[in-house]
């Protein structure tokens, strides 16, 4: 088994309370399914939109958000899968795609090769 980080980008649910509730429930169901199949190493956390970017030698501080809403990382999870292909397959069940969002699948670098 290898580890992967899922970075959830964009995919805002809009302003409808009904739709937001449905999205929330789909996420809960998706995580539940992944957990039951033993793929969730750590469910991770949602991230606040605001924040600071500290940059360069000067350590310049820039107020967030740093990218457009559609590219903003809204949360992350740590997933276990046999290889990148399987990790990608797992990501496809994420409800974020319904709202035009994206999942960035990144293998965690292994220490001993």
């Amino acid at each position: 088994m290898s580890e992967f980080v899922f970075l959830y980008r964009g995919g805002e649910a809009g302003r409808s309370p009904e739709r937001m509730q449905q999205m929330m429930q789909k996420w809960v169901a998706w995580f539940k399914e992944l957990t039951e199949k033993g793929h969730v190493k750590n469910q991770g956390h949602p991230l606040e939109r605001a924040g600071k970017l500290v940059k360069g030698k000067e350590k310049t501080i820039i107020d967030g958000p740093f990218v457009e809403a559609k590219d903003l990382v809204g949360g992350y999870s740590l997933i276990e899968a046999s290889d990148l292909d399987q990790a990608v397959q797992l990501s496809k069940g994420c409800p974020i795609f319904e709202n035009d969002g994206a999942v960035e699948v990144r293998p965690v670098m292994k220490l001993n090769l």
Binding site: M23, M24, Q43
Partner: protein
């Protein structure tokens, strides 16, 4: 835990109503933003951690904290609720005041207050209904446009204008003022009645959407009935009418997805619990001297509810109740329903005579069940050709695929392809 259906939508109404009381009615948009923000947080946190034990309390606390942030940041630039005035100005009193405003007894009347505020006399009835759906029921403009089969632009305009009127009204309605309450309660009842009817008779093809409109109307009517001044005979009758009609909703679409008209429904599918509730409410509505059109409509629904089958129905009683309704609330639709009841008790010929005698019947021309009723009565007295023409006219005015399919089957029946016993307006 699993959150209940429509939790977000319902909490949205409760939270906006409470925040608007605190921020002042002129800051409605701010209240809406704070609520939106609370939902965004709930969505993000809950999707990772699951839904907390008491989601409604979680949402309200999140909104409260956000409200405190807003008040701290903007109290110098903004004026908030005039009633709370200077209490919000100092840090010493701000937090305890807000704490108090969010206590259960304080937020209890907020939805009622908002309901009355939405029925502002400067607003047309359809604007009052749209506003209630938007603010109190958490329907977005798109969802309302979908439910009313109207354009996004038209509904948006209606709601924007209505919110402007609401904001200019300076204060939320005072639900403790007996004189004002009794002046406006009839508009509130009327708006709830229209909301219910939009679900019950409306044009949307989505059964789920229509059922939700009915449920929302019933939920708001229950809030009205729960208030000390809202327990009027008219409100009881309105609630009775809603229960008795809503009881029939499960039977309107049969197992194969076909529309079943009233006379053709499987009555075992009527919701008996709602029927009983409706009959009890109708009893309560009789305690007093007030007789409203809701009483009459509820009485008609009760006659149907008590009949085991169509043949058992006391059609003469129904005709005379429609006679009463024609004196208090005359309209071509009421007259059409009356004519159908006459046809049931005295035969299709008499029914057709009554329909032809309806004053202002040209206003019914685009209502599909007007032509359908004519078609049905012609069909019953054996004039298949005339019946087919009427059904074809009705088909031109069908408002959704389900009505279309239903009328096509009636046209087939006229050609002897399909034999269906009865149809009738719902």
């Amino acid at each position: 835990m699993e959150p209940s259906d429509h939790l977000f939508r319902r909490e949205s109404g409760r939270m906006i109503a409470t925040l608007t009381r605190i921020f002042g009615v002129h800051n409605l948009a701010l209240a809406e933003d704070v609520v939106q923000d609370a939902f965004c947080r709930a969505l993000e946190v809950w999707k990772f951690r699951g839904v907390p034990e008491n989601p409604a309390a979680w949402l309200m606390t999140t909104a409260k904290n956000r409200a405190l942030d807003v008040l701290r940041r903007e109290r110098t630039a903004h004026t908030f609720a005039p009633e709370l005035g200077r209490l919000l100005e100092s840090e010493w009193t701000l937090a305890p005041t807000i704490e108090e405003q969010f206590e259960e007894h304080a937020i209890k009347d907020d939805q009622l207050r908002m309901m009355f505020s939405c029925c502002h006399p400067r607003l047309r009835e359809n604007a009052q209904v749209a506003l209630m759906l938007n603010i109190l029921c958490g329907f977005t403009v798109d969802e309302i446009a979908g439910a009313f089969v109207s354009s996004h632009a038209a509904i948006e305009k209606r709601i924007t204008r209505a919110k402007k009127v609401l904001a200019q009204s300076k204060r939320l309605f005072d639900v403790a003022d007996e004189a004002q309450f009794s002046t406006r309660v009839s508009s509130v009842e009327r708006a709830l009645y229209l909301l219910f009817n939009e679900g019950y008779h409306g044009a949307s093809a989505e059964t789920a959407v229509r059922t939700e409109l009915c449920q929302e109307a019933m939920r708001l009517a229950a809030i009205l009935l729960d208030s000390p001044l809202g327990k009027t005979p008219g409100t009881y009758a309105l609630a009775a009418l809603m229960c008795l009609n809503a009881a029939r909703l499960p039977a309107r679409i049969d197992a194969s997805g076909n529309l079943r008209t009233f006379l053709d429904q499987d009555r075992s599918q009527w919701d008996q619990q709602l029927v009983n509730e409706g009959l009890q409410l109708l009893d309560l509505s009789a305690r007093g001297s007030q007789l409203t059109s809701y009483h009459v409509e509820a009485a008609i629904a009760a006659v149907h509810a008590r009949a085991k089958c169509v043949e058992d129905t006391d059609w003469e009683a129904i005709v005379s109740l429609y006679d009463v309704l024609m004196t208090t609330q005359p309209s071509p639709i009421v007259a059409l329903n009356r004519a159908i009841a006459v046809a049931q008790s005295e035969g299709p010929q008499r029914g057709l005579e009554e329909i032809n005698a309806i004053a202002g019947k040209e206003r019914l021309a685009s209502y599909p069940f007007y032509s359908a009723a004519l078609g049905e009565l012609e069909f019953r007295r054996g004039r298949q050709d005339a019946a087919r023409e009427h059904f074809q006219t009705a088909l031109l005015h069908a408002r959704n695929p389900m009505e279309r399919h239903f009328l096509e089957r009636r046209i087939d029946a006229c050609e002897g392809i399909e034999d269906l016993s009865t149809i009738f307006p719902v």
